[in-house]
Symmetry: D2
Subunit: 338 residues, 4 copies
């Protein structure tokens, strides 16, 4: 941590702050220039709240030199993590996680049909929404617990582990019992209460990046879960909010190498939600594999034009099958198995 | 609702879609040009999910002409709403809501002391965080239920109604019983489960704008609460996330006249969180009153340099008193009482 | 300047870099911690390109502690600058600069009529576009040199100094001779060639903030002009590009206190372009004065519905007159003369 | 074009506007609902400025249904364009354009050495900056005309056509004579004067996307050049400005399929400037090819740690060679030759 002092701060004020900092257990190294005095703090600065230092009227700015996340940090865990769930593995040293399925679970026929088709195409996880976060209170909110039942049925029929979104802490018990991978949606990425509760489980969490979350904040949300003892986390890039309105969000593929550099956690990409356009799924899924993602989560619907939600971003099972085939040589080119 | 068809769509495809739309109870008016066919939908389009139409492969785009919010919409409720709570009123026809207090409740002495001082300065609400949403799991998370007790004590001593943030649905019962104004923080603006639960109460909700929420999404979150029957909502602009990093967020004061145009709900401004800098609170609070806000929520701390959180954005009680005095002529200039 | 070294960098690599830096004339102060080594650079770091240091593979990051601008920096010029032009003054110690006029100059009758009306309302500068930067090559591009002539005529009739936008370096000669205040538009804020040429003149430059320019980049563009010897610069905040689409841009009023803190240059606000909506001009102009701006630049058109450009953001002369009257008590409240 | 009228607009006002629109040569089709009246405009709406309609106080909003660009529009030119320059071709039906070279031309030895190396690696164009747009007036601004000479020498030695940035209209003559591909930098994407002048030449223009330019604005800038008669344009995605600060910009790879859908112009990707980090060039270059880009522009420097600019985003020639080799199977997978 580095503290920049205001020009002309009297020496006794600098001494006073230095003493206060030393009292908090860090070593203070002053760097004194003509125009500026800098205090370099060495030691365990994790317990020092920078807003506390910045509130000192002689301080211009506080700069971090170390990342604020620990358990998620590659520095302290250099080997990439492998997450094992439902007989599958997710991580840099595993084959690509191919998660596919409809936006919403609509009926037994629909979910079981799609599950069989995506499995045949090569998918190793089934996704499907039972509880849907919708911007409007008047839009279809999902089949809820009935949807969960249908997902379980599809799992039984196909053997695919299921991935589905949780929206409230009071559902953790049932999700813990019945779901393989619990998805935390973008809008809940900083629902700290939910994160904390999920930290108490040992379930695999698919943590979507928030619409306007920095990479650091995203990793801090993973840290919330990990701080509770649950280290089974898969990150999911799904597009960020920018000024560009042609696509629903802007898929940030540079986040994949960034996460690789900063963390040991696996990271997958959701090209469907990122763009909101079905015809962009194919090129962006290919790009996601080329950039080094550990998997793809893709919306597949047997009848997109009549889907109960997000039909415009869903592809048909036949298109998905073709996509998976087309991705094989790209995966091979970047050294990944499928 | 307007549906733009792809160039060269066969007439029978247009007819098929028109029929499907008519079956949903809307009237379809085609506008046929050389290069484009447009379908103008008239009637109650609120039950038609636009993603369903966009999934039709002959559709280029769906455009909304009416706002998707109803109960929050000024069109159906032209008179500005007045919220009555704790003996106070908030709204265009009431005096300014002056909400002030520390970021976190720290001790009885602290909260009661600050409460007395801000009341003397002119504040009519006391704010203070008991449950704190912090980016890091290792940062101070608030005194929680003990903090609530201290707030209640400060209310008893000063008579000021209390405003404090809720973080989880399971706390609604105690908040409903003990708190005057329940704050929903920016990070929870789209925690739909929480919103729905708050819709079942009749408490006043201070709904902060999400970091990357559009004005329309913000009003849709108000609509979530209102759809449940609770119309006691006060909106709070607190800065949005942009590329500019000099301030913590970018305070969007144009949101105030926008809300005035679109909705009947009161709207207040939080200059402290918006900028993260105590010396910006004064000019931006003045600007907020000049632009027409119905109130201000300001962080005031007796000892900012030793605050347990956000000290760098807090002002001292004496500075707050001066600010309130300086604001009087501005409020008068825009026709507001204080 | 602070250089953060990679964990585990061998001492001899640190020494090598320190020597290279010392050779560039700065003093290197190492701060050595268990996990991190930091080099604090003291002295004139302005000639050291940080990208040169960051290219060193042992360097994690380079952090600036001093602002990169000098002539525009308040640190080296604590007194606020006053710009004198056309018999008027602009700056913190002068009365508000009230710049008004149409988006485009359309005819003699139009510009002279509006000039007389805004003068009567209290304006002390006339604005009007002769050369128009339009997103489409097919849109009206302005009356060009004929427009300049008409502006000069309006100046002669009313005595108001004229403010108009330059679009190309080859027009500097005529602008230098005929125009009082040369406006650099948002899209040209980093047209470095144009800035450099303007630095060779001694004309007053109204430098608009770029659509996605940080406050620091904006001041660096001022620095470009000042580096050439021309210190007559007035900054103009006109909204930045964000995800919010309800307004054309998001007016960043926090930029005003920020500029006050960082620079001695005057800063004015353009509420018309910021929002693109005429009915937002009134509240945001008031907010701009309350926040401490040194002036306002407002689009006024005698017949907005038939304006050749940007009619939707123009107000009528009678509305402008009312606005100026309404602003008086706000200006007085923040200690400004009008 | 669609015009949304305000609720309750009197019929005679609607008629008046309809007549005015009809007088401009478009057919007006009203769609009348209970709460809303919409006017659908059919015909050549390109001459109607929407700000003119929006200025009508009875109009809520104007919506475009057709893209405002024509010559760049795929609708009117369905076949992908192939640009022929310096014995090379760029476009969907050609092999990948591999443009490589240093940020700045520094010396004969440097530029000729790098040119030979990137050619050996597989590059078919040489890039290098002679005129450098730098944020600071005190930073190295390029060797200017001497730099151009050195580029020409490198071309003579290697046969590689040269790509270099123009910064001012007065240099067009020399660029037209000596340069193969004239680059327009991100900061000049809306320097309309420069675009117009380039439209008068027949040189190939590499048009970089502005930092905060929408895809539509980017295509409108291409339209500016094309409107002058020069259709030899290659678009270049190089990252946009967002709230994320870990990378210098956010590379928007979804822009590639978007451009494919909207335009016939070729589009290449610059992973070096997008991220500002050399170690991200490799994964993002692969992703760019996988997503369907027509080429790559990559910064290559023989000695990044001593580069005069942007060393931290440059890779060494040996790394570039490896990258090109690694890209071959990805290119093959998406049906592209190299």
């Amino acid at each position: 941590m580095i503290v920049i002092m205001k020009r002309g701060t009297p020496q006794k004020e600098i001494d006073k702050l230095s003493e206060a900092l030393t009292a908090k257990g860090v070593e203070v190294n002053p760097v004194v220039g003509k125009d500026l005095t800098i205090l370099g703090l060495v030691g365990d600065t994790s317990k020092i709240d920078d807003s506390w230092i910045e509130a000192n009227r002689n301080v211009v700015r506080v700069m971090h030199v170390a990342e604020p996340f620990k358990k998620a940090n590659k520095m302290f865990h250099p080997e990439p993590s492998t997450i094992r769930v439902g007989g599958q593995e997710i991580g840099m040293n595993s084959r690509l996680a191919l998660i596919a399925g409809p936006c919403s679970v609509e009926s037994e026929e629909q979910i079981c049909g799609i599950a069989a088709e995506v499995k045949a195409a090569g998918a190793n996880f089934l996704r499907g929404g039972a509880f849907k976060p919708r911007t409007s209170p008047y839009a279809f909110q999902g089949l809820k617990y009935d949807g969960l039942e249908l997902l379980m049925e599809a799992r039984e029929k196909t053997g695919l582990p299921i991935v589905t979104e949780i929206m409230a802490p009071h559902d953790i018990e049932i999700f813990e019992r019945e779901v393989d991978v619990i998805q935390v949606g973008a809008r809940n990425m900083q629902n700290f209460d939910l994160l904390r509760e999920l930290g108490k489980t040992r379930k695999t969490i698919l943590l979507k990046r928030g619409l306007s979350a920095t990479i650091e904040e995203w990793l801090m949300s993973a840290e919330y879960i990990m701080a509770g003892g649950n280290e089974n986390i898969v990150l999911c890039e799904r597009g960020i909010r920018t000024f560009e309105q042609y696509t629903r969000n802007t898929l940030d593929l540079s986040a994949i190498p960034a996460i690789r550099k900063l963390s040991h956690l696996p990271v997958v990409v959701d090209p469907s939600h990122a763009t909101g356009k079905w015809w962009m799924v194919d090129p962006l899924a290919k790009a996601a594999v080329a950039v080094g993602a550990d998997g793809l989560i893709v919306e597949v619907h047997n009848d997109p034009a009549n889907a109960l939600c997000d039909g415009q971003q869903s592809i048909k099972p036949s298109v998905y099958r073709q996509l998976i085939d087309d991705i094989r040589p790209i995966a091979a080119a970047v050294g990944r198995e499928m």
